[in-house]
C-alpha cells in the first residue's frame, strides 16, 4: 500500500468515527521522495512500555524522524455502551468505574449527573460537597500519577513516578475507607452517594489535604528547574489553539493551548460556583505547558478541597424519597457532562420509558484528545512521540470502552 493512501484512509476513518472535522492547521509531512526506501515502519505498541496500555502507533520513520503516525486502538474494547443499554440505569454505574480506571469517582459523577438530568432528581447539600471532595481528590491523584508517568516516559527511571504514587496511595486509601474499593469505587448514586462519610474520614481527609501542598512543592522542586526536563518538553508536540478547538480537545490539554474552557466554570455543575479557584492557561501548547497545567491544577484542587472541607454541612446524603432502584425515566433525553481530570466527560442518554436506556453514549475525553496525535507528532523523533503521547494523558479503558 502506498503511504499516501494509507494516511488518507486513517484520517477518513477517524473523521467518521469522531463525527468531527478538523481541517484547520493540519499539516502533513511527506518523506522526501528520494529517501522513500529508507523509511522504517515501526509498530509502537500494543506491547510497549510507554503506550499506557494496549495502544498501538504505526509509525513511519525517516531515521528517527516521524513522517507518518497512525494511531490504532480497540484492543481493550469491551462493548461498554451496548452493555449499559441492556442493563438497568443503576447497573451501569459499576461499568463507568472501568472507563477511566484511574478516576472512577468522576466517571460516576458524569453518569449520575446525566441520569439526574434525565429524571430530574434533586441532590442534597451534603452530597454535593462530598461529590466535589471526591472529584477533586480524584483530579489530584490523576494529575500526580500523570506527571509521574510522563517523567517515566522521559526516562527518569521511576523516581518521580514513585514520588507521585506515594501520595496517590494515600488518596486511594481514603477512597477505600469510604467506598470499600481503591480504584473501582462505585460510590455515587442517583441523587446522592452510597454511604455517608464519617467525621473521622473527613478529619483524615483534612489532614491529608493539609499535607498535599508540601508534596506539590517537593515535586516542583524536584523537577521544575531541571534543564533536561525543560529541554525535552519545551517546543515539543505543539498543539495550536485553532486545531485544539476544531478537534474538540478538552481538559488540561486544551487549556495548555491557551483556551479558557473549564466545564466547572462554564456549566457550574454541582456547586462549583461556590468555590474560589482559578483556571491556569498555557501559552505555547507544548508538552511542558501540558505538564505545568497539571501541576498548577493540583494546587487549585487543593484550594477547592480546603474550602469544601471547611464548609461541608451536616445532613442526609440521599433524599429517601428518591428512587434509585428500578428507575423508569419518562421518554426523553439528557446529556450530562463534567470536567473530568482528562477533559469533558459526557454521558448522553435517551430513555424510551423502560428499565434501561434506549441509547447510552459516552463522550470520552481521552479518545478525542488522542485524535490529533499525528498532527502533534509529525516531524518529531521517536523519543518525543513517547513524551507527547504521555502528555495527552490517556487511559485505554476510556479510549476503547
Amino acid at each position: 500500500m502506498s503511504g499516501k493512501s494509507m494516511m488518507e484512509e486513517s484520517a477518513i476513518g477517524l473523521d467518521e468515527q469522531m463525527g468531527a472535522t478538523y481541517g484547520a492547521g493540519r499539516h502533513t509531512l511527506k518523506p522526501d521522495a528520494e529517501h522513500e526506501s529508507q523509511i522504517l515502519e515501526v509498530a509502537i505498541g500494543p506491547q510497549h512500555p510507554s503506550t499506557h496500555g494496549v495502544f498501538r502507533m504505526d509509525v513511519q520513520l525517516d531515521g528517527e524522524r516521524v513522517v507518518r503516525l497512525k494511531p490504532v486502538f480497540g484492543y481493550l474494547h469491551r462493548n461498554h455502551e451496548k452493555i449499559a443499554e441492556n442493563a438497568a440505569y443503576l447497573a451501569a454505574i459499576p461499568y463507568t468505574d472501568r472507563l477511566d480506571y484511574l478516576c472512577s469517582m468522576t466517571n460516576n459523577w458524569g453518569y449520575v449527573l446525566a441520569v439526574e438530568k434525565l429524571v430530574g432528581i434533586a441532590v442534597p447539600e451534603r452530597t454535593e460537597y462530598i461529590r466535589v471532595i471526591m472529584a477533586e481528590l480524584t483530579r489530584f491523584q490523576n494529575h500526580s500519577a500523570l506527571v509521574g508517568f510522563l517523567l517515566q516516559d522521559m526516562g527518569a527511571s521511576g523516581t518521580p513516578l514513585m514520588y507521585a504514587f506515594r501520595e496517590r496511595e494515600k488518596i486511594l486509601d481514603l477512597f477505600e475507607a469510604v467506598s470499600g474499593a481503591r480504584m473501582m469505587c462505585n460510590y455515587l448514586r442517583f441523587g446522592g452517594v452510597r454511604v455517608d462519610c464519617t467525621p473521622e474520614w473527613l478529619e483524615e481527609t483534612r489532614q491529608l489535604v493539609g499535607r498535599l501542598p508540601r508534596f506539590v512543592d517537593e515535586f516542583e522542586r524536584l523537577l521544575r528547574g531541571n534543564e533536561i526536563l525543560m529541554a525535552r518538553t519545551q517546543g515539543v508536540g505543539v498543539l495550536p489553539r485553532e486545531l485544539a478547538v476544531s478537534a474538540g480537545v478538552t481538559g488540561p490539554m486544551l487549556r495548555a493551548s491557551g483556551v479558557n474552557y473549564d466545564i466547572r466554570k462554564v456549566d457550574r455543575y454541582g456547586i462549583y460556583d461556590r468555590f474560589k479557584f482559578r483556571v491556569p492557561l498555557g501559552e505555547h501548547g507544548d508538552v511542558y505547558d501540558r505538564y505545568m497545567m497539571r501541576v498548577l491544577e493540583m494546587r487549585e484542587s487543593i484550594a477547592i478541597l480546603e474550602q469544601a472541607l471547611k464548609e461541608i454541612p451536616d445532613g442526609p446524603v440521599q433524599d429517601p424519597k428518591t428512587k434509585v432502584r428500578g428507575l423508569r425515566p419518562k421518554v426523553g433525553e439528557a446529556y450530562g457532562r463534567i470536567e473530568s481530570p482528562k477533559g469533558e466527560l459526557g454521558f448522553y442518554l435517551i430513555s424510551d420509558g423502560t428499565m434501561n436506556p434506549y441509547r447510552y453514549r459516552v463522550r470520552p475525553p481521552c479518545l478525542i484528545n488522542l485524535t490529533i496525535l499525528e498532527d502533534m507528532c509529525l516531524g518529531l523523533s521517536v523519543a518525543d512521540v513517547v513524551v507527547t503521547l504521555g502528555s495527552v494523558d490517556i487511559v485505554m479503558g476510556e479510549v476503547d470502552r
Partner: protein, 173 residues
C-alpha cells in the same frame, strides 16, 4: 616463525577471503573487521605494540564502523555476487597471477636467505613520539592537514540537501 604467527596469519587471511567473497554485505563488513583485528594481532606479534593497537583503534573502531554505516545507509542496494560472474573469475585470475609473481619474487630474492635479527628493535611509545615530532614533524603536519581536509570533505559530500519538507520538520521541533 612462531605458532601464534601462523594462527594469526591464518585467521587474517581466511577472514580476508571471507570479507571479499561472502554474499551479504554486512557479513563482509564483519569479516573485514576480523581481518583487521588479525592484522593488528600480527603487528603485536611482531613486537610493534603501538602500531598494532593503533591499527585496532583506527580500523576496527572507525573504518569498520564507517563501512557498516555506509552499508546500512545504502540499504536496498545489496547486490549478491553471482559466483559465475565474469568479473569475479577474471578478478580472481588476475589476483592469483599477481600473487604468483609476488611469491616468486619473495622466495627467489635475497630476502628469504637474509639473516634476520631475533630481538625486537626498541620501539617505546616515547621514542615513537619523539621521532614523530622531531624527525618527521613535517609529514605529521601534512597528515594532520590531510585528515582535517578529509573530515571537511566527507561532511560536505555526505551533507543531505534539505528539502522544504525536512526543513519544516526541523522547525516544528
Amino acid at each position: 616463525m612462531t605458532v601464534s604467527f601462523v594462527l594469526l596469519a591464518l585467521l587474517t587471511l581466511s577472514a580476508a577471503v571471507a570479507a571479499m567473497s561472502m554474499p551479504r554485505l554486512i557479513h563482509c563488513a564483519l569479516a573485514l573487521a576480523v581481518a583487521f583485528t588479525g592484522l593488528g594481532g600480527i603487528f603485536l606479534n611482531l613486537g610493534a605494540e603501538f602500531v598494532g593497537l593503533a591499527q585496532l583503534l583506527v580500523y576496527v573502531g572507525a573504518v569498520a564502523i564507517l563501512i557498516v554505516f555506509a552499508i546500512l545507509l545504502t540499504r536496498g542496494s545489496e547486490v549478491s555476487m553471482r559466483p559465475g560472474a565474469r568479473s569475479a573469475i577474471s578478478g580472481t585470475v588476475i589476483a592469483l597471477a599477481v600473487f604468483a609473481v609476488l611469491a616468486h619474487a619473495v622466495l627467489t630474492s635475497g630476502v628469504s636467505r637474509m639473516a634476520t635479527t631475533a630481538v625486537t628493535p626498541s620501539n617505546r611509545v616515547q621514542e615513537i613520539g619523539v621521532t614523530l615530532l622531531q624527525q618527521y614533524v613535517l609529514p605529521l603536519e601534512v597528515i594532520a592537514l590531510l585528515l582535517t581536509a578529509a573530515l571537511i570533505g566527507a561532511v560536505i559530500l555526505a551533507w543531505r540537501e534539505k528539502s522544504p519538507a525536512a526543513q519544516e520538520g526541523a522547525e516544528t521541533r
